[in-house]
């Protein structure tokens, strides 16, 4: 059997590992257009901050692949796949044949259609090379402007701040982390971050990136204000790489559609990780990609593994601050809520109730009780007379 895996991120690498365990004999080739083998994207902000070297981010190096007789093709982009099986793969360096195929092509940073976004000095952060380029530019820069106030953006911005830059954040929404936070909680997070040195422009729309001689010098907002910047980082979400899947005529919705075996609509072609959609869900998170990759690897080799979905974690860290956000966080304030807020200490705790059940929670800066609250939320526990009195005594839930 000849296998080709495209993409050496967490899905592609864990697939190769599982595949090799299942089939010690087959020919396995792994292609990536990047010059680095499997590395962790989670720590790219630290690379931007200049706190670590690229080598420290590599999780499986070339010798790891060699030991497993996986042929690692670095800096070799797959340009075209002729349908099969057998499949014929064209790359920037040659052509190869395969009986089975895995698309682990991952995602890329979405760049909204802002005029001027193609100027130099405008960055996104998704790959090691992105981080190195951004870090290099940051060495000469004093002011960074961030477009997008979501989790990834704030972490990347923190990397720049640690490098000594002034960081301004522009967000279309009127608060930070709009999906995880209600207005009051977001304001407390914002104050903590302002004390760290961030500045924010919320509820504003970018109009145009302006500069001279092709180099960005700042962002014009629709309200007419101009924000000067030496570099601009756009952090507007991730989209799946779909070109190869489209070329093969695979079924695509938000991502490449796969079944529980991680097989696409075309027999012999599997897909896993940030490029896929499973049972209508696009995950884009580490542990989902790892599990999908493992299942795909087993099945490429003829095994019978099934992927059942991954529980989305509700626990986060944002710029080093603990945050739990789950369920209906009631941003409009229509439900009965129990709130404990201590802006000076950067603490915001909220439980949202419907009748006698917890239906949502936000815990910022102090996550005590998270286990009990999340359990009660998941199981729909009737909290009875404890309603509205749980934040200070989560242990009472254990007796329910």
């Amino acid at each position: 059997m000849r296998y080709i895996v495209i993409g050496a991120g967490v899905a592609g690498s864990s697939a190769c590992e599982a595949l090799r365990e299942m089939d010690p004999e087959g020919e396995v080739r792994l292609f990536t257009d990047e010059p680095y083998p499997f590395y962790t994207k989670i720590r790219l902000p630290e690379l931007v901050a200049g706190k670590v070297s690229p080598e420290r981010l590599i999780l499986k190096d070339e010798s790891w692949f060699r030991q497993r007789r996986i042929r690692l093709h670095l800096e070799e982009k797959v340009t075209c796949i002729v349908p099969g099986p057998p499949f014929s793969i064209e790359t920037t360096r040659g052509s190869y044949d395969a009986d089975r195929l895995l698309l682990a092509t991952g995602g890329f940073s979405f760049v909204p259609p802002i005029p001027g976004a193609d100027m130099s000095g405008v960055f996104t952060l998704r790959t090691m090379q992105d981080a190195l380029a951004l870090g290099q530019e940051a060495e000469r820069a004093k002011r960074a402007l961030l477009i997008g106030g979501g989790l990834l953006g704030l972490e990347a911005g923190n990397g720049l701040r640690l490098r000594g830059l002034d960081v301004e954040v522009v967000e279309i929404f009127d608060r930070l982390l709009p999906r995880q936070m209600d207005p009051a909680g977001a304001e407390i997070l914002q104050r903590i971050m302002e004390r760290m040195g961030f500045s924010f422009y919320l509820g504003v729309r970018p109009k145009e990136i302006q500069g001279s001689r092709g180099k960005a010098q700042g962002l014009l907002l629709e309200d007419g204000r101009f924000l000067e910047a030496d570099l601009i980082l756009i952090s507007a979400g991730v989209r799946p790489h779909l070109e190869l899947a489209e070329g093969l005529g695979l079924k695509i919705q938000r991502g490449i559609v796969v079944n529980d075996e991680m097989e696409t609509s075309s027999p012999g072609v599997y897909a896993a990780g940030d490029a896929v959609e499973h049972r209508g869900v696009y995950y884009g998170i580490w542990n989902a990609a790892e599990e999908q990759g493992r299942v795909a690897g087993v099945n490429l080799a003829g095994g019978g593994a099934r992927y059942q979905g991954t529980l989305m974690s509700n626990r986060l860290k944002v710029v080093g601050i603990d945050l739990v956000s789950a369920g209906e966080i009631d941003t409009e304030g229509v439900h009965f809520s129990e709130v404990k807020s201590d802006p000076d200490k950067g603490i915001y705790r909220k439980l949202v109730y419907k009748e006698d059940r917890i239906i949502g929670c936000i815990l910022l800066g102090d996550v005590r009780g998270q286990r009990q609250f999340l359990q009660a939320l998941t199981h729909g526990t009737d909290v009875g007379e404890l309603k509205g009195k749980l934040l200070s005594q989560p242990e009472k839930l254990g007796q329910k």
Binding site: I42, R43, L59
Partner: protein, 52 residues
Amino acid sequence: MNKYECLICGYIYDPAAGDLENGIAPDTAFEDLPDDWTCPVCGASKDQFEKA
């Protein structure tokens, strides 16, 4: 000694086992891991761990 779980990938650090691949001997408490120790599965830093 407490076990700690990685918030990113779910790896559990078990102090009884340590992390031999990265030179951490058995019976090393999470608190005693070096600051630059990272999750052996996903590379997350120490501050992404939480008591399991």
